[in-house]
């Protein structure tokens, strides 16, 4: 049993560690979410040629804190006939998996919560637990829109989990281990995985956008006919945690997974000398990716639920399967070098980008033809 | 018989193949009745010719199996496709092909009107089954053919039968099936006991080659199973109730074949498989079977006297005749055995003919109850002549074929010095059967043939040429087998001696 520092009794030391962890969580993780909200609104504004929040605090920095305080102070309103236990439990069920995934993220060589040798699998599992909360939220709020919204977003999350995990698997094939620390250690040189598996990176990017309910797929929040999806009945801090904290927390987790796998995690010049420097590189890479997320949010229109689902099942999953198959075959064919894998991946990426619109066009034409035929037939019949 | 190089090499397999080949065009012409009839007649005629050629090249006087063809069928189980004929089965095969040809000829003469194509297919399939039963030497093949016989018969009675056909055909199938399942169990038991794991076999020649391979108490039970299956098929008394129903409801052709051949499968099975394979079993069950056969002879005759339906009467008469067969087989001496086999052949020809004539009469008058019939002799002289001769043959008039078989069986029974009471009791009892036969047959003949002319039947025509063509061969056979039985006896006797010797009988050498 490890003896605590300064000769503390192990039991006591365990409690102390627990406290430190709580402080860290509240301080860092929650604040980062608030920071991100602020950053999001700023970048959104800049892209839309406006200023964004600047009244509260220098450059509007305290705006999100103000919002947070407002939400906490709000009255705890609950609609009648809602399933009380579930209504309250839902936000917790959505929030805790996000929180639990931070333990595995490799910020810096010494700065890792717990180096699980199934780290990546752990993250994927927590990703899938969130769905439960959403469904229960939808169900408990005793509101038709909430229920349908909840079921739809659950469907979306589960569907996009499949291509996400498949692309992770492709990456793991190349990397060889599930433990986050080992993954980062294998990418010391400038040749990070991004250049080896660009297609996997792209598909994972798309599915993580969906996973975190970001713009092209942020169906629940702003759906015109679903009011606010499963969040309709929620207000106050419950709404806050459900939407703000969880969503942005997840964004950070997803981006850190992408950085660890594709961008080399904490590796950067000078880390070898001073390991603690890794945190800087890691956060820089994560925030780069977050900018991309926000950029996407500002530009892309929202997808309809059937377009979203058909895109996932009819295009994304086949591509990731193809990618996985090709990588696996090539890895076995040329066990020593990664070059052929890289070449194949690039070719596939180009093909994917070029062919995507062509395939969609043909599908649409097909759809219109059948619809026209059916209406004509119906016309004749009636 | 023509000796020397066989004219037709694989004649037995050919016998099985021809009907199957015949079925193919039938399937093509299934809708066109006339074509179906022609194909069926040609096929059955070809089958008859081949069987006659086979008979021609059969070396008389040899006891062993001839023209044996043996090919491994399921080598892993030691089951072989083994066919061969000996003195007993060669004549039965010819009888089968002849009766089938006659039945098909008669049915195509207008007896069967609806669904002729299917009928002919069923019949050809039936022929395969029947011929197969008589030439199979492998127990498994025998069982397959034994069952194959059942299905077409079920269809023939079930579809083209009379009013209560479903009941009758179901009863027929259930009875025979129960029996044959018992036999299947016995066959498996035989297979398992036929030797150490390596040399297990079901082929009959091997089984009877060496000393008996089966333990005494096994033989008792195996014999019971086999004998039960054949007893039901043969209808021995307690299991005979299916026969009258099956006959009454079966179409004419069906009745001819059912009485002519299917019953023989039972008798044949007894002498071919039950007796030689399980001698000790035979000894144990001998008294019961003899008592049952004598009961069958008397009981069959007694019951048929009071029958009201013509076909039922003849059905019960075949129960009595088959009683003679079992009696002859189980007295275990040459005269009895040869008499039994002869009786099987005679019964096949005579009862087949009787059913043919009842059928002819039924096609014309559509009535089978004896009370409704009468006075045919006045306006049907030819019919009366033929029918009269067959009735006389059936009641065992010396000079016709019935008598030879029955007399030899009686002789064998008298000679039997068995356990319960010596043959001197069973012989006279069985001979009484001959009297009863005369009573019920002549009484039927009198009520049907004699008496005043009936207006209803006055205008009906006598035998048509096709009917005469069907009846003529049977008539010639009946007289020939009565007056010149010796050629047949010469063929049958050596094989019967061999089988009975296996079954532990004492064979008296011919004293010249």
């Amino acid at each position: 049993m490890p003896v605590g520092p300064f000769g503390l009794d192990p039991l006591l030391w365990a409690i102390v560690r627990l406290l430190i962890a709580v402080v860290l969580v509240v301080a860092l993780i929650l604040n980062s979410s608030l920071l991100l909200i602020y950053l999001e609104r700023k970048i959104q504004a800049v892209m839309q040629d406006r200023i964004g929040p600047y009244h509260t605090g220098p450059f509007g920095l305290l705006q999100t804190f103000a919002d947070a305080l407002k939400l906490i102070a709000k009255e705890d309103v609950r609609a009648g006939h809602t399933d009380v236990a579930f209504f309250i439990a839902a936000p917790a069920l959505v929030f805790t998996p996000m929180l639990a995934s931070y333990v595995v993220l490799p910020f810096a060589p010494p700065l890792v919560g717990a180096d699980l040798n199934i780290g990546l699998l752990y993250l994927a599992t927590l990703g899938s637990m969130g769905v439960l909360g959403i469904v229960i939220a939808g169900w408990a709020s005793n509101n038709k829109y909430a229920l349908v919204g909840g079921l739809r977003s659950a469907g979306q999350l589960i569907s996009y989990e499949v291509p996400g995990i498949l692309s992770l698997v492709t990456a793991v094939l190349v990397v060889g281990s599930l433990s986050m620390v080992k993954i980062t250690e294998t990418q010391t040189g400038p040749l990070v995985n991004l250049f080896v598996l660009p297609l996997a990176f792209a598909t994972y990017l798309v599915s993580s956008l969906a996973e975190t309910n970001r713009t092209p797929f942020d169906l629940p929040e702003a759906e015109s006919e679903l009011v606010a999806g499963y969040l309709t009945e929620y207000s106050g801090m419950r709404w806050g945690t459900m939407l703000a904290l969880t969503e942005y927390g997840n964004v950070v987790v997803v981006c850190s997974i992408m950085t660890t796998l594709w961008l080399g995690g904490w590796n950067g010049p000078g880390v070898a000398a001073l390991p603690i420097l890794g945190v800087v590189w890691f956060t820089l890479k994560v925030y780069a990716l977050i900018l991309v997320f926000m950029w996407v949010r500002a530009t892309l229109p929202r997808l309809r639920i059937d377009q979203l689902m058909s895109f996932c099942w009819k295009i994304l999953i086949p591509t990731t399967l193809l990618n996985l198959a090709v990588t696996a075959v090539l890895l076995i064919a040329f066990p020593s070098t990664l070059v052929p894998v890289a070449i194949a991946n690039w070719i596939l990426l180009v093909a994917f980008i070029v062919l995507l619109p062509v395939v969609q066009q043909r599908r649409l034409r097909q759809l219109r033809k059948t619809l026209r035929a059916r209406t004509a037939a119906a016309g004749v019949a009636s | 018989m023509i000796t020397g190089t066989p004219i037709l090499d694989h004649s037995l397999t050919l016998l099985l193949v021809i009907p199957l080949v015949g079925i193919l065009p039938l399937l093509a012409f299934i809708k066109d009745a006339r074509a179906a009839k022609q194909v069926a007649i040609v096929t059955t005629f070809a089958e008859l010719v081949v069987s006659l050629v086979m008979l021609a090249q059969f070396r008389v006087g040899e006891a062993g199996f001839q023209m044996v063809e043996s090919v491994a069928w399921l080598p892993s189980l030691g089951i072989r496709y083994e066919v061969g004929v000996d003195g007993i089965s060669v004549l039965l095969v010819v009888l089968t092909t002849l009766l089938t040809f006659i039945s098909v000829l008669y049915s195509s003469g207008g007896a069967i009107k609806q669904r002729v194509g299917e009928f002919m297919v069923a019949f050809l399939l039936l022929e395969v089954g029947m011929v197969g039963v008589f030439i199979a030497l492998d127990l498994f093949l025998f069982y397959v053919m034994f069952e194959l016989m059942l299905i077409p018969m079920y269809l023939i009675i079930g579809i083209w039968g009379g009013t209560r056909r479903v009941y009758a055909t179901l009863k027929f199938v259930l009875f025979t099936l129960a029996g044959s399942l018992l036999m299947l169990v016995a066959i498996v038991a035989v297979y398992l006991n036929s030797g150490p794991a390596g040399s297990r076999t079901l082929s009959f020649p091997d089984l009877i080659a060496g000393p008996t391979r089966f333990a005494p108490e096994f033989q008792v039970w195996a014999f019971l199973a086999f004998a039960l299956a054949f007893a039901i098929k043969l209808p021995m008394v307690p299991f005979h109730t299916w026969l009258p129903d099956a006959h009454v409801e079966a179409p004419t052709a069906g009745s001819i074949v059912l009485a002519g051949i299917l019953l023989k499968a039972g008798g044949y099975g007894l002498i071919r498989f039950a007796l030689p394979l399980f001698p000790i079993g035979a000894q144990v069950w001998l008294p019961i079977v003899i008592v049952l056969s004598v009961v069958a002879i008397l009981y069959g005759a007694m019951v048929s006297t009071v029958q009201k339906d013509l076909k039922k009467l003849i059905a019960y008469s075949s129960v009595a005749h088959m009683g003679f067969v079992t009696l002859g087989l189980f007295v275990l001496n040459t005269q009895g055995g040869v008499g039994a086999v002869l009786q099987m052949l005679n019964h096949g020809v005579v009862t087949g003919a009787l059913f043919l004539f009842v059928g002819i009469e039924y096609e014309k008058t559509h009535r089978r109850q004896i009370a409704d019939l009468g006075g045919f002799a006045n306006h049907w002289p030819l019919y009366t002549g033929f029918f009269g001769i067959f009735v006389l043959a059936s009641l065992g008039l010396p000079g016709l074929n019935g008598f030879v078989g029955e007399f030899l069986v009686l002789l064998g029974t008298f000679r039997y010095g068995g356990q319960p009471i010596s043959g001197l009791l069973w012989g006279p009892l069985a001979a009484i059967g001959v009297i009863l036969a005369a009573i019920y047959l002549l009484w039927m003949f009198q009520r049907v043939m004699y008496g005043p002319v009936r207006e209803a039947y006055k205008a009906l025509p006598d035998l048509t040429p096709i009917e005469v063509a069907c009846a003529a061969p049977l008539l010639v056979l009946t007289i020939l087998m009565g007056v010149f039985p010796q050629p047949l006896i010469a063929i049958i006797q050596p094989s019967v001696d061999r089988m009975l010797a296996l079954a532990g009988a004492t064979i008296t050498v011919a004293v010249h």
């Binding site: - | 004699y450 008496g451 010796q486 064979i507």
Partner: protein, 641 residues
């Protein structure tokens, strides 16, 4: 003789068979009338050949010769050939049968002229002769049996010739069934002979009889009795006689041929042929004698009161056959054969005479006849001669043969049988005279009948005359010096009772005395008959009333027919009905019960399928529990014994 006549013996039965086949096949469409001629010609040839063979055998001194055609049945040690035995006995029988059949064929051409089924008649009659000749010529019992049953078949066919009316075919059936019962005895006899002697040929069997008699006397008696049962069936002796009177339903020539001359004598021929067996059979011989005597007396009594002319003759035949068996019984087979021959002639004549009367008057009932003497002189005179022979008037044939039988009965120590013989002779004489007076003498009782009665055409009267000659001369020719006549010497070798002993010198004085007694009895009989029917002094009606119960008994033929019809036939039908009921209800019942049982079980099981998923889960859980308990038990050793 240049041509080996005996070798052609198979032609004797062969020719009638050929005629039968020709008439059978072509009779209906083309031949019609000519079938009669074909049949008669064939019979003529056969008769001629028969006589030639008779004389050839006579010439060769009675040497038996076997002519074999082919081996009929040969199974293991059982060998039977189709072979003809030509020896004095069979030669005489052939001559008698062929001769009389020929005459009857000619007679029936005339008799059956107007009948529609004449071709059928002339198919079956020669067929009958074929079977009879085979029976007589057979060299072994089995071939004899073929003839035996064949003859029974033809009698069935011919009795039932007019099958429109019910009486003929019921009589035919009755005849065949009775014969069949007899044949049952014959079959058992044949098989027993084979089993004891190892062969069926006559000479082989008879050689071994002496040897076997010592070792197994009982079997010999059994065999003899079995054969005798067969004989009674065929020759209408006491227990199985009632079919013969009913057989009169058939056409008269048939009655004449089959039921007088030939078939009925087959039984006698059988007993005569197997005398060696009967001789050593001890008690069996006495049985034959007694049955013969009783039948003779019994039939004669019934004949007294019969009104139908053919019935009288039928009963007289039964009685005469009784005489023949009596002869065999007392150890005088030659006398039996002698009486058989003479009886064949005069009985055939009597029947044909009655036939020509019936042909003329279309009437069989004697009470409506009378005074036909003037209308039918030839028939009258021939009938009178035959009647005389029957009544055993000295010069005529009947006297010699019957007297010999009666004498033999007396000499062999059977005094009671002798007295019965004499009594029957008296009764025979009485009913013969009664018959003659009722039909031919006195005033015609039915004028219509009397007016159009006419003498039969020559084709019928010529055979009558020939037979009349036979009736007169046969007695003298064959057996004049009693016990030492032609026939005795001829048959001595083959048929002698004591094989090998020399017949001791005939004691002529005793014979003369016995003959005298017999003649006196006959004269008394005739006297009574003449008195009752010619003079009407004791009027027959009055006598019958006086006799009272005896008369009714006799008229109803001792109620034997009723006994047979009601007791046996109905009993049989009830028994068979019960058997059928047993079959239909008990055995079928069991099968149907079985089916009902399975249905019952089925419906019981059906209830288990409740449809509720829960119940199924419960049953699975129960199974699991059992599994756990069992496995647990064994795993932890608790359940081990």
């Amino acid at each position: 003789m240049s041509v080996d006549v005996v070798g052609l013996v198979w032609l004797v039965p062969g020719i009638p068979l050929a005629a039968a086949i020709v008439n059978g096949l072509f009779g209906r469409r083309w031949l019609h009338r000519t079938t009669g001629v074909i049949a008669s010609v064939a019979l003529g040839l056969s008769a001629a050949l028969g006589l030639a063979i008779f004389f050839a055998v006579l010439a060769s001194g009675g040497q038996p010769r076997v002519v074999t055609l082919y081996e009929w049945i040969g199974v293991g040690d059982f060998r039977v050939d189709t072979a003809a035995l030509v020896d004095p006995l069979s030669a005489t029988m052939v001559a008698v049968v062929a001769g009389i059949s020929f005459l009857i064929h000619i007679f029936s051409i005339g008799y059956m002229e107007h009948d529609r089924g004449i071709h059928r008649f002339f198919t079956w009659l020669p067929l009958f002769v074929f079977f009879m000749l085979t029976l007589v010529l057979a060299d072994n019992y089995l071939l004899m049996f073929v003839g035996w049953e064949g003859v029974g078949l033809c009698s069935y066919l011919l009795i039932g010739f007019w099958f429109e009316k019910p009486a003929p075919y019921t009589a035919a059936n009755k005849a065949f069934w009775m014969n069949r019962i007899g044949d049952w005895g014959f079959t058992i006899g044949t098989i027993l002979t084979f089993l004891t002697f190892g062969s069926l040929n006559f000479h082989e069997v008879f050689d071994k009889v002496a040897g076997v008699a010592q070792t197994q006397p009982l079997t010999i008696t059994f065999i003899a009795l079995a054969f005798f049962l067969g004989a009674t069936g065929k020759s209408a002796q006491l227990p199985l006689y009632s079919w013969l009177p009913d057989a009169m339903e058939g056409p008269t020539p048939v009655s004449a041929l089959i039921h007088a001359a030939t078939m009925v004598t087959a039984g006698v021929y059988l007993v005569a042929r197997s005398t060696p067996i009967f001789a050593d059979a001890g008690s069996a011989l006495v049985v034959v004698g007694i049955v013969g005597a009783v039948t003779a007396l019994f039939a004669a009594t019934i004949a007294l009161v019969q009104v139908d002319i053919k019935r009288v003759l039928a009963y007289s035949t039964v009685s005469q056959l009784g005489y023949m068996f009596l002869a065999c019984g007392v150890g005088a087979p030659i006398a039996a054969i002698f009486h058989l021959a003479t009886h064949a002639f005069f009985k055939a004549l009597l029947f044909l005479g009655s036939g020509s009367v019936i042909h003329a008057t279309e009437e069989q009932d004697m009470r409506r006849m009378g005074g036909l003497r003037r209308k039918m002189p030839i028939t009258y005179w021939t009938f009178l001669l035959a009647g005389g022979a029957l009544a055993a008037i000295p010069p005529l044939a009947g006297f010699w043969s019957k007297d010999e039988i009666v004498g033999a009965a007396f000499t062999s120590g059977h005094q009671i049988l002798w007295s019965v013989g004499i009594g029957t002779g008296l009764l025979t004489a009485f009913y013969t005279t009664r018959m003659i007076y009722l039909t031919f003498h006195g005033e015609p009782r039915d004028h219509h009948l009397y007016d159009h009665a006419h003498e039969s055409p020559p084709v019928m009267t010529v055979p009558l005359m020939l037979l009349a000659a036979g009736a007169v001369l046969a007695g003298l020719v064959l057996g004049f010096p009693p016990d030492a006549g032609f026939i005795h010497r001829f048959l001595a070798g083959v048929v002698s009772a004591e094989a090998g002993q020399q017949p001791e010198a005939p004691n002529y004085v005793l014979i003369a005395v016995l003959a005298a007694v017999a003649v006196v009895a006959a004269l008394i009989g005739i006297g009574i008959g003449y008195a009752m029917y010619a003079r009407r002094r004791p009027d027959p009606a009055a006598v019958s009333r006086a006799a009272g119960p005896i008369y009714t008994l006799l008229v109803n033929k001792y109620f034997v027919d009723e006994l047979y019809d009601h007791r046996i036939i109905d009993g049989g039908r009830a028994l068979f009905g019960a058997a059928w009921a047993f079959d239909a209800h008990i055995i079928d019942g069991i099968v149907d019960r079985l089916a009902w049982l399975t249905a019952l079980i089925g419906s019981g099981l059906r209830r288990v399928q409740t449809g509720v998923v829960g119940n199924y889960a419960l049953s699975i859980a129960a199974g699991l529990l059992v599994l756990i308990v069992v496995y647990g038990g064994y795993a932890t050793g608790m359940l081990h014994r």
